[in-house]
Amino acid sequence: MALVGESGCGKTVSALSILRLLPDPPAKITSGEIIFSDRDLLSLNAKQMREIRGKEIAMIFQDPMTSLNPVLTVGEQLIETLLRHKSLNRKETLKKSAQLLGKVELPSPEEKLKKYPHQLSGGMRQRVLIAMALACDPKILIADEPTTALDVLIQAQILELLESLKKETGMSILLITHDLGVVTEIAERIMVMYAGEGVEIGSTRDLLDNPHHPYTKGLISSRPKLEPTIEQGQRLTEIPGNVPPPHQRPTGCAFHPRCDWSIDKCKAQKPLLQNINQNRQFSCHLQPESI
């Protein structure tokens, strides 16, 4: 499953809410429920939540440079999670840590345990973070823009690793990204978000081949395509305007000021998510055929 959208659309906030990681105050989850294995995460107390966080649901972050502690070695950071959630002693955790690093395909894992984060490259650091997230065999892995800070070649490697880990361990991945290309590589379903709301949900292929929401359509066509047939000087399709800041959301449909097809109804009335079939939902007043 992937959440896609531009910056400021609420992707990361969704993920942090699931783990109840948002600082409270000022942030408050005002309504809704998060059901995980039949329990509402919002009704749990801090201690119960700690049991779930890291053990059942783990997260990897966008910037591998800042999410590791620069003054602790990789090994010390890895065993932290293991000591917290598993009843192992130091020696066993170190052995397990080395195994984990091997699992994320880092060369010479024993040596890497003794290194500090600044001695590793960006791609290696992201692998360490993935190893940390995998330490307790989580059921869900939340990956918040895991490859955005990395080079293209390294990005391809990390995506491949996530894909094979998913197959191997059977865990679910919630991938957060702004890049539709990354999504196609690993996600089965996509939710497109705009201004704090999901505007279209569907299975990856279906949604990309046949987008129903004007915003999804815009996102797909504004991406430069890698085709040898492109003519020189050809213009890219653009979505006009900017994402509205959260305190100045437009009335009605949040996308209507940037939408080519907007009608009067869009300004006045907020469209609701409607089901087309079991796997496909979108929120737009217009018929998909008309856009």
């Binding site: 490259s121 070649l153 391809a156 539709l180 996102l219 395509k225 040898p228 653009e238 979505i239 900017n242």
Partner: protein, 323 residues
């Protein structure tokens, strides 16, 4: 200058950064950020410079504009050797050579109003008359209303700020603009707007662009020719069309394959590259790509390939293509 081919000529440009001296160590290797690159740029032409981070793209741009002093090599701009110019002559020359930076939030002074930011190029080059009108016109050209002159950068979005960055670069009618990853800090839907804007100016003003990016798909859209860089060297240079249809260097092919595509059909036949970019202070012997190359042969570890022309205008540095 009438001779079109000699608009910008870069020859064997090198830039080494000395690395930090370790205690008692007598000889520490310097970082070879730029290890002898050569190319030419015609008037009004767009050359893309692609590669991973640390391959020397940005150093190339900065050294070219003499924001860094080159270790060796020469840059001829309209027939003049930039290295031989005095400070004052160089400043005069810079009117024609401008730069657009990657991160508009850090390249635009947060304590100045946009109007003041845009006034600066005029002030530096001694224009005093009609500056305010010129600024209003500039803002209009990049699609911003004239009341933006009184705004500060924090009041604007990344896309709007990058428009200001472009306005600043074209203020003095340059003939060469170096754009260093101008869209990689922006959202996808905004990227398209900025690329289109730069295309407009290129057509209207006949500006030659040196476009630096790590994203092959954007480069294909924007550039006439593409140079692929790896560890401070150009490994392949050809027209955009040629490079996308017939990538010859394994590194170019890997870069093209690594672009995550919406079309999953092309996924199967990937040329896979393992590992990281090597340390530029200690580059591998022979072909610098051999440590990651899936097609590596024994000779690649010893012989260093040089750029060879394999088709008209298509140069590649790979031993496997020499046979």
């Amino acid at each position: 200058m009438t001779d079109n081919s000699r608009f910008l000529e870069v020859k064997d440009l090198k830039k080494y950064f000395p690395s930090k001296k370790k205690f008692l160590a007598s000889n520490t290797p310097s970082v070879r950020a730029l290890d002898g690159i050569s190319f030419t740029l015609k008037k009004g032409e767009t050359l893309g410079l692609v590669g991973e981070s640390g391959c020397g793209k940005s150093t190339a741009a900065r050294t070219l504009l003499r924001l860094e002093t080159p270790t060796s090599g020469s840059v001829h701009f309209k027939g003049k050797n930039l290295a031989s110019l005095s400070e004052a002559e160089l400043r005069n020359q810079r009117k024609e050579m401008q730069m657009i930076f990657q991160d508009p939030f850090s390249s635009i002074n947060p304590r100045r109003k946009i109007g003041e930011v845009l006034r600066e190029p005029f002030a530096i080059h001694g224009f005093k008359e009609n500056v305010s009108e010129a600024i209003t016109k500039l803002l209009d050209q990049v699609g911003l209303s004239s009341d933006y002159v009184n705004r500060y950068s924090h009041e604007m979005s990344g896309g709007q700020l990058q428009r200001v960055g472009i306005a600043r670069a074209i203020a003095l009618n340059p003939t060469l603009v170096v754009a260093d990853e101008p869209v990689s800090a922006l959202d996808v839907s905004i990227q398209a707007q900025i690329i289109n804007l730069m295309m407009d100016f290129r057509e209207k003003m006949g500006i030659a662009f040196l476009f630096i990016s790590h994203d092959m798909s954007i480069v294909e859209y924007f550039c006439d020719r593409v140079a692929v860089m790896y560890l401070g060297k150009i490994v392949e240079i050809a027209s955009s069309e040629e490079i996308y249809k017939r990538p010859e260097h394994p590194y170019t092919e890997a870069l093209l394959n690594a672009v995550p595509g919406l079309d999953s059909a092309q996924k199967n036949q990937k040329l896979k590259v393992r590992g990281d970019i090597p340390d530029p202070s200690n580059p591998p012997k022979g072909c610098s790509f051999h440590t990651r190359c899936p097609l590596k042969e024994k000779q690649c570890e010893e012989i260093e390939p040089t750029l060879k022309e394999i088709a008209p205008g298509h140069h590649v540095a790979c031993l496997l293509k020499e046979r």
